[in-house]
C-alpha cells in the first residue's frame, strides 16, 4: 500500500476514536443518546481519597463512560438490529425487561409467559383475607357515595398464546394451568366485589375481533380494545355515579403505525430500522364532547399499573371526565391529563378529605399483578377510613 493511503487510514482510525471519545462529553454527532426504555443514570464518580485509593472512583468513571459513550444510540441499535433481523430474537440482558420475539413479529414480555404456565401457589386463606379487605374498602367508599370498580386487565400471552414460540411453554399448556388470578376469579363474585373481568371479556372479543386486542408491538391492551373496555366501564359505573360519564362517540378509526403503549415493546427493542415491524393497527379517535358542562363531569381517581395509561390516554381527550389524579402503583401521584408528577408523599395524605372530591375510584391491575393486591392501597384505606 502506498504511503498517502496509509496515512489517511491511520488518521481515519485515530480520528474516529477521538471523535467518538469527544462525543461522549460534547454532542458532536447526530442522534447520539436518544434510546427508549427506562434506565437509572449511573451515579457520578466520587472524588475523595478513600474512593480513589479503593478504585471506586475509577469503576464509577467506567460505568459513567459506558452509559454516555459517543454514538451510544447507534451502537445499541446496531447490535439489536443484528440480533433481531438476522437471528429473529431479542437481546438477552442481565436485567431489565426481557422481550421475547414470537411468531410473525409478535412481541411478549418473558415474565408474562412464565406466569401463564406456573400454577399459582398463593394460599386460599391469604386470598380470602385480601378479598375481604377489598370488599370492606368498597363498602366504605360506597358509604361515601363513591362507587369502586376493580378492573383486571388481560395478559397478551393469555390472549394470544398461539403467537408464543412453543419452546417457551416448557412443555406446558397455559389453558390447563390455573394461575393465582384464575384460582381467585370465583372468589371475586363470592365476596361481591365490583370486578371487571378483562381476561374473560377479551376471550369473548377474540371470537369477533381476533387480531386487534393487542398490537404485535405492544405489551398492553391496544387502544382499539381499550375503546371497548371504556364503554364497558361506563356501563358499569354510570348507574351508581353522582355524575355519569357522558357518551363519547368515535370520530375515526384510523389504521396507522402503532404509537404510545401500542408500540412500547418494539420501541424498547431500540432497532436501527423498525419500519418493517410496525404493523398498522386501528387507532380510535373520539369526538370531544361538549354537551355536558365540566362541573357535571365525573372525577375519577385511578389507582393502576401501566395498563391504566391507555384508558387515561383515550378518555381524557374525549372530555368525558374531569381532570383528576392517577396513583401509579400507589407510589407516585400524577395530575391527569398531562401526567405531571405531583411529588406527593402518599403516606401523609388525609384520605377522608382527599377522596371527598371524587365520584369514583377505579383500580386497574393486570392479571399477573394479582399477588400485589393493590400495592397497599386497600390496607391504607381500610386503616384510614372509619
Amino acid at each position: 500500500m502506498k504511503s498517502r493511503p496509509q496515512l489517511l487510514l491511520i488518521l481515519g482510525f485515530v480520528g474516529f476514536l477521538w471523535i467518538v471519545g469527544l462525543d461522549t462529553f460534547l454532542p458532536l454527532l447526530p442522534g447520539g443518546k436518544n434510546l427508549r426504555g427506562a434506565t437509572t443514570p449511573p451515579p457520578l464518580p466520587t472524588w475523595n481519597w478513600t474512593a480513589l485509593r479503593s478504585g471506586e472512583t475509577f469503576r464509577a468513571i467506567d460505568t459513567w463512560f459506558n452509559a454516555n459513550v459517543g454514538l451510544r444510540n447507534w451502537w445499541v441499535r446496531l447490535d439489536n438490529q443484528i440480533t433481531y433481523s438476522l437471528f429473529g430474537e431479542t437481546q438477552k440482558r442481565p436485567e431489565g425487561t426481557h422481550v421475547v420475539a414470537g411468531r410473525d413479529d409478535w412481541l411478549f414480555e418473558h415474565h408474562y409467559i412464565t406466569y401463564a404456565v406456573k400454577p399459582g401457589t398463593m394460599p386460599e386463606a391469604e386470598m380470602r383475607t385480601a378479598l375481604e379487605r377489598i370488599r370492606r374498602v368498597q363498602d366504605k367508599l360506597a358509604a361515601r357515595g363513591m362507587p369502586f370498580l376493580l378492573v383486571v386487565a388481560p395478559s397478551k400471552v393469555e390472549t394470544y398464546p398461539d403467537k408464543v414460540p412453543d419452546v417457551y411453554w416448557g412443555g406446558r399448556d397455559p389453558a390447563k394451568v390455573l394461575t393465582n388470578f384464575e384460582r381467585a376469579r370465583p372468589l371475586f363474585a363470592e365476596y361481591g366485589i365490583n370486578f371487571y373481568d378483562g381476561p374473560a371479556r377479551f376471550q369473548e372479543w377474540k371470537q369477533t375481533m381476533p387480531d386487534n386486542l393487542f398490537t404485535r408491538s405492544g405489551t398492553h391492551w391496544s387502544y382499539y380494545a381499550v375503546q371497548h373496555v371504556l364503554r364497558d366501564l361506563r356501563d358499569r359505573l354510570n348507574p351508581v355515579m353522582r355524575h355519569p360519564v357522558p357518551e363519547f362517540r368515535l370520530k375515526a378509526l384510523r389504521s396507522r403505525s402503532p404509537l404510545g403503549t401500542d408500540e412500547d415493546l418494539l420501541a424498547l427493542m431500540n432497532l436501527l430500522i423498525d419500519t418493517p415491524y410496525r404493523h398498522p393497527s386501528p387507532y380510535p379517535e373520539f369526538i370531544e364532547q361538549q354537551s355536558v358542562p365540566p362541573e357535571k363531569l365525573p372525577r375519577i381517581l385511578w389507582v393502576h399499573d401501566s395498563f391504566g395509561w391507555a384508558l387515561i390516554d383515550l378518555l381524557y381527550p374525549a372530555n368525558a371526565v374531569r381532570p383528576s389524579e392517577s396513583l401509579y402503583y400507589f407510589q407516585n401521584a400524577y395530575a391527569i391529563p398531562g401526567v405531571v408528577n405531583l411529588k406527593r408523599d402518599l403516606t401523609k395524605t388525609d384520605w377522608e378529605t382527599y377522596l371527598r372530591d371524587y365520584d369514583a375510584v377505579v383500580m386497574v391491575w393486570t392479571e399477573i399483578a394479582f399477588e400485589f393486591m393493590g400495592w397497599g392501597f386497600f390496607e391504607t384505606l381500610d386503616q384510614h377510613l372509619p
Binding site: 500500500m1 504511503s3 496509509q6 496515512l7 487510514l9 491511520i10 485515530v14 476514536l17 477521538w18 467518538v20 471519545g21 461522549t24 434510546l35 426504555g37 427506562a38 434506565t39 480513589l52 485509593r53 479503593s54 478504585g55 475509577f58 469503576r59 468513571i61 467506567d62 463512560f65 459506558n66 459513550v69 454514538l71 451510544r72 451502537w75 445499541v76 446496531l78 447490535d79 443484528i82 440480533t83 438476522l86 437471528f87 429473529g88 430474537e89 437481546q91 438477552k92 440482558r93 431489565g96 425487561t97 404456565v117 406456573k118 414460540p165 419452546v167 416448557g170 406446558r172 405489551t219 412500547d264 415493546l265 424498547l268 431500540n270 401501566s306 401509579y328 402503583y329 407510589q331 407516585n332
Partner: protein
C-alpha cells in the same frame, strides 16, 4: 482497565497514541511508561506501589548481580536466590496464601482443632505474569544472556508495558531488550498493529463474551441435575470462550505493541488443530510454554536424562504450570492431567502418534482438551466430577424441555449458536488455509488483501463497539414508580 472496554477504546487509546506520537523519539519510553502505570493503576491504584516497589528491587538486585565478577559464583547464586525468593515469596503471599490458609484450616477442622484467623489477601492484577517477566530478567542477567537494563525507566517499561502487563504474552527480557533501547516506528507497522488489535477485540467481544455468558449460565446451575445437552453446550462454549478470550487478548497486546513499534512473540497458533497434546502445548500459550521450558524444564535436566526422569520432569513442569494458573486443586489436577498426557505421549512416541490420520487425531486431542477444561472451569473438584457424569447422562434429555427457569433459548440463543459455529469453523481451519491466503503475514502483500483487511478491521471495530455499547444498556419498559 481492560482493552475490551469502551473507556479504553475511546478515551485511553486515542489520548495515549496522541501523546506517544507527539512526544520526541527519545521521550517515547517515558510516555509509554507513564501510560502503562496509569493503565495499571486504573481500578486498583493501591497495587501500583507494590508493582513499582518490586520493580525497583528487581532493577537494583540485577545491577548488583551484574557487577559481581563471574568467578564469584557462590555470591552470584546467593543474589539470584535472594531475588527469586522475593519474587516467588510475593507471588506465594498474594496468590496462594488464601489457598494454603484454607487447606490448613481444613486439616485443623478435620483434627477437630480451631482454625487460624485469616484476613483474605487481595490479588494484585497481573502478578503471575509480571513475576515471571522479572524472573526471566533476573535469570537472563545471571546467565549473561542479557545485560542489565540501562536505566530504571527501561526496566520499569519492560515489566509494566501496558499491552502485555495484565495477561501476557510473557515477554522474556532478551526478546525485547534491544527494542526498548531502539525500535522502528512506521505506518506499515502501525496499521498492522491496528489490524491485529481490532481482530483481537472482535475475537474477545464478539465471540468469547457471548460464549462465556452461556458457559457461566451452565456452570452456575445445580450441576447434579444438569441435562446432558446443556453440559455439552456449556463445555464447548467454554472451550471456545477461553481460546478466543485469551488469544484475542494476546492479539490485542501484540497489536498495541506493534502500534508502539514493539514486536512481541506470538502466543497462540491455532491450538485446536493439534493432533496431540504435545502439539497442543506448542500452540497454546506459547510464551508460558517457552518460559517453563527455559526456566524450569531445562534446569531440571530437560530431555538429557533418563526416559523416566524426562517423563517426571514433564509432569512436574505441568503440575507447576497448573498451579500457576490458579490457587485451587482444580488447577493442580488440570496441570497434572496435561503433564500425564504429555508423559504418556512421550512414552508412546510422537512418531507413532503422527501416523494416526489427521481428523481422528484432531478430534481425539480436542476431546482430551475439552475434558481438561471441565477441571479448569468447575468451581471445585467435586463439581468437575459431577460435570463429567452429566456429560454422559443420556436419561436427562427430557429436562431440557421442562425446566421453565432454564429453557433452551434462555441458555443459548440463535445468535450464540451462530457465534459458536463461527468459532468452531475458524478454530479448526488448517494452518495451510491461512498461509495460502496470506493471512499469516504481518503486512499484506497484495492490494486485495490490504483492502480486505481495512474492510474487516472496520467491521470489527464497529461491531465490537456495538456489542460493548449494548452490554451496558438494560432498560425496563417503564419505571414502575
Amino acid at each position: 482497565m481492560v482493552f475490551s472496554s469502551l473507556l479504553f477504546l475511546y478515551a485511553y487509546l486515542p489520548v495515549f497514541l496522541a501523546l506517544y506520537y507527539l512526544a520526541p523519539l527519545r521521550h517515547r519510553n517515558v510516555v509509554a511508561l507513564a501510560g502503562s502505570l496509569f493503565f495499571y493503576g486504573w481500578g486498583e491504584p493501591g497495587f501500583l506501589v507494590i508493582l513499582i516497589g518490586v520493580c525497583v528491587f528487581g532493577y537494583y538486585i540485577s545491577l548488583w548481580l551484574a557487577r559481581l565478577p563471574v568467578e564469584a559464583r557462590a555470591a552470584r547464586r546467593w543474589v539470584l536466590t535472594l531475588g527469586l525468593g522475593v519474587y516467588l515469596g510475593l507471588l506465594l503471599w498474594f496468590k496462594y496464601s488464601n489457598f494454603f490458609a484454607a487447606q490448613l484450616n481444613g486439616v485443623l477442622g478435620w483434627l477437630q482443632q480451631g482454625g487460624i484467623l485469616w484476613t483474605h489477601v487481595v490479588l494484585p492484577l497481573g502478578i503471575s505474569f509480571f513475576t515471571f517477566q522479572k524472573i526471566s530478567y533476573l535469570v537472563d542477567v545471571y546467565r549473561g544472556t542479557s545485560k542489565p537494563a540501562r536505566s530504571l525507566v527501561d526496566y520499569l517499561l519492560f515489566v509494566t508495558l501496558f499491552p502485555q502487563l495484565i495477561a501476557g504474552p510473557i515477554i522474556r527480557y532478551h526478546d525485547v531488550a534491544v527494542q526498548i533501547v531502539s525500535r522502528g516506528h512506521s505506518r506499515e507497522k502501525f496499521l498492522a498493529g491496528a489490524w491485529r488489535f481490532l481482530l483481537g477485540l472482535a475475537r474477545k467481544v464478539l465471540i468469547a463474551n457471548p460464549l462465556g455468558a452461556v458457559a457461566d449460565r451452565v456452570f452456575a446451575q445445580d450441576l447434579g441435575t444438569l441435562p446432558m445437552p446443556y453440559a455439552w453446550i456449556g463445555i464447548l462454549c467454554y472451550a471456545f470462550q477461553i481460546y478466543f478470550d485469551f488469544s484475542g487478548y494476546s492479539d490485542m497486546a501484540i497489536g498495541l505493541g506493534r502500534m508502539m513499534g514493539f514486536e512481541f512473540m506470538e502466543n497462540f497458533e491455532r491450538p485446536y488443530t493439534s493432533r496431540s497434546i504435545t502439539e497442543f502445548w506448542r500452540r497454546w500459550h506459547i510464551s508460558l510454554s517457552n518460559f517453563m521450558r527455559d526456566y524450569l524444564y531445562i534446569p531440571l535436566g530437560g530431555n538429557r536424562t533418563t526416559p523416566w526422569r524426562v517423563g517426571f520432569n514433564l509432569w512436574f513442569v505441568f503440575l507447576v504450570s497448573g498451579f500457576w494458573h490458579g490457587a485451587s486443586w482444580n488447577f493442580v489436577c488440570w496441570g497434572a492431567y496435561h503433564g500425564l498426557l504429555l508423559s504418556l505421549e512421550r512414552a508412546v512416541g510422537l512418531k507413532r502418534l503422527g501416523r494416526i490420520p489427521a481428523v481422528p487425531a484432531t478430534v481425539f486431542t480436542f476431546l482430551l482438551v475439552l475434558a481438561s477444561w471441565v477441571l479448569f472451569r468447575a468451581a471445585s473438584l467435586t463439581d468437575a466430577l459431577t460435570y463429567f457424569s452429566r456429560l454422559a447422562d443420556w436419561s436427562s434429555w427430557a429436562n431440557v424441555r421442562n425446566d421453565l427457569e432454564f429453557l433452551w433459548p434462555d441458555v443459548i440463543s440463535a445468535r450464540t449458536w451462530g457465534v459458536l459455529g463461527i468459532a468452531a469453523f475458524f478454530s479448526f481451519l488448517p494452518e495451510s488455509w491461512w498461509t495460502r491466503r496470506g493471512w499469516d503475514e504481518v503486512v499484506p502483500s497484495t492490494r486485495p488483501q490490504a483492502v480486505l483487511r481495512v474492510l474487516l478491521g472496520t467491521a470489527c471495530l464497529i461491531l465490537a463497539s456495538a456489542a460493548l455499547g449494548n452490554q451496558s444498556y438494560n432498560p425496563f419498559i417503564y419505571f414502575r414508580f
